[in-house]
């Protein structure tokens, strides 16, 4: 019974998301696409964070996916689906190769190195003008689906669903145990047979693939790539804030956090341009002070306290 009921809410939400564009116009659809993008990135960031590793490299792999897609489509004439898939694969290949180095590091050393990698990608693409178009970036000849709002919405939703499925799979497979034991006690995890490096490398590569895929979908939806926007630090920082608000180490947490912050920032952008970042900052400080495990953790604890 419990298993069945726990499926009802997700199924209803997904169905609502699918029929959303039939009911509401282009503007809400665009807002929803932005929320989906950040929700997907927040989920991927959390997947690695379930092992305790704090990556600041999300923007790096997002940007790699973006640029690989655009270059394959424009310079090599690949079709959109193929360019997008390869774009994500290229981000994953970079993560796999770099993982051999950065996943030897822990704590702040790991975080700072991933941040530096994202910056290096940006600087190279910004300066290698003959290859990447330099600071002005590259423009696609056309947007996917001719820019049809509904089609773009469903494409972005589709990618989000893929990310959600991966997140749920990680939560319900052996990976849940591997990642949690690495987070809680690396030494003891090893002596229970967990291959720590291999586990981290697999998850790092999977999340980079998904981040690259989100970047690929983003670029074919908007039609251009520029180094400063494709590697925007917000792609690293906002997902992190969303996870902290919603609740870490889960699928629901990033989903809740990204809807709240995504919608709030859209509203605030209209009311106080650029001021929304200030509000962001205040929200994050309040969450860390009063709900260190996010909304989900806060309410779970309350429920637990009531029970006894």
């Amino acid at each position: 019974m419990k298993r069945v009921s726990s499926f009802i809410l997700p199924v209803v939400l997904v169905l609502a998301a699918v029929v959303f564009p039939l009911v509401l116009g282009p503007y809400p659809q665009t807002v929803a696409r932005t929320v989906f993008k950040y929700m997907a990135l927040a989920l991927t960031w959390d997947m690695l964070f379930r092992s305790g590793q704090v990556s600041f490299g999300v923007a790096g792999f997002f940007g790699l996916g973006t640029y690989a897609t655009v270059l394959l489509a424009v310079k090599a004439g690949f079709s959109f689906p193929l360019a997008m898939l390869l774009g994500a694969v290229i981000a994953a290949v970079f993560a796999y190769a770099l993982g051999f180095l950065v996943l030897q590091l822990r704590g702040t050393y790991f975080s700072i190195t991933t941040l530096a990698l994202a910056e290096i990608f940006r600087v190279i693409l910004r300066n290698w003008t003959s290859f990447s178009g330099g600071p002005e970036g590259i423009v696609l000849q056309q947007i996917v689906f001719g820019g049809q709002s509904k089609a773009l919405y469903w494409l972005n939703l589709g990618v989000l669903l893929v990310v959600l499925l991966v997140s749920v799979w990680l939560e319900n497979s052996k990976f849940h145990f591997a990642l949690t034991s690495i987070r809680d006690n690396e030494v003891s995890a090893q002596t229970s047979g967990v291959n720590i490096f291999r586990t981290l490398l697999i998850v790092f590569t999977i999340t980079a693939f998904l981040q690259g895929l989100v970047g690929a979908v983003d670029v074919v939806s908007y039609g251009y790539a520029m180094p400063d926007s494709a590697f925007d630090a917000n792609y690293t920082l906002l997902p992190l804030a969303m996870v902290l608000l919603g609740g870490e180490h889960s699928t629901w947490g990033p989903v809740i956090g990204s809807v709240l912050l995504g919608v709030a920032s859209e509203y605030l952008k209209l009311k106080i341009p650029y001021g929304h970042l200030l509000v962001y900052g205040v929200i994050i400080i309040l969450v860390i002070l009063f709900m260190p495990r996010g909304l989900l953790g806060f309410f779970r604890r309350k429920k637990g306290a009531n029970r006894g």
Partner: protein, 243 residues
Amino acid sequence: MAKLTTKKLTKQFGGLVAVHDVSFSIVSGEILGIIGPNGAGKTTFINLISGIYAPTSGTIKFEGKDISVMPAHERAKIGIARTYQLIHPMEDLNLLENVMVGFLFAGNKSMKEARLAATELCTEMGLERLEREVSQLTMLEVKKMEIAHALANTPKVLFLDEIMAGLNTDETKEMIALVKRLARERNLAVGVVEHVMGVIRELTDRVIVLEAGEIIAEGPYEIVSKNKRVIEAYLGGATDAEN
């Protein structure tokens, strides 16, 4: 035949030699006590055997095979398990899930199999209400969970690092009986690090005494405890040698 042997095993941290030329062996079904004053190198020795540290020199053989440079997670798979002196259970996993980890990874079982095997093992050890969080467990239950966590590797060699610390007299008695039973039933080679000599006397077939990283005595507890060097080593360090 010896299950596990070390030959001239040495671990150096900078200028400090924590374990020096330790050669020992342990056979299946045997419970070996490892004693010595604080800082004698007992835990470092276990860390070497379980693969947390790589030896500076010397060899470790398991069932005749050299495992000196084998990574810790592979040693877990071939049948080496241990508990930790400072207990850090997986706080984000419940009692049953903590025990499942070894079955999942060292034993390479599926989720379903691991859940079943862990439930069986916990029941065998007298653990109940397995969905509880670790923070809700008593000290005795935590210690039992630690042993179950190690036994989930389905080990042939098991090292228990101060598993009795923090238990009262009755609980210690129960634990001694439990460890004996588990070792006999599974034909395990067990290494026990303990400070309480009463436990060592009750539990072990044989004892090795470490001081400053070296073996200074070896034999049954009754004989080793009368050894002059052993008494001196303890009088210099701990005061519970006569407990």
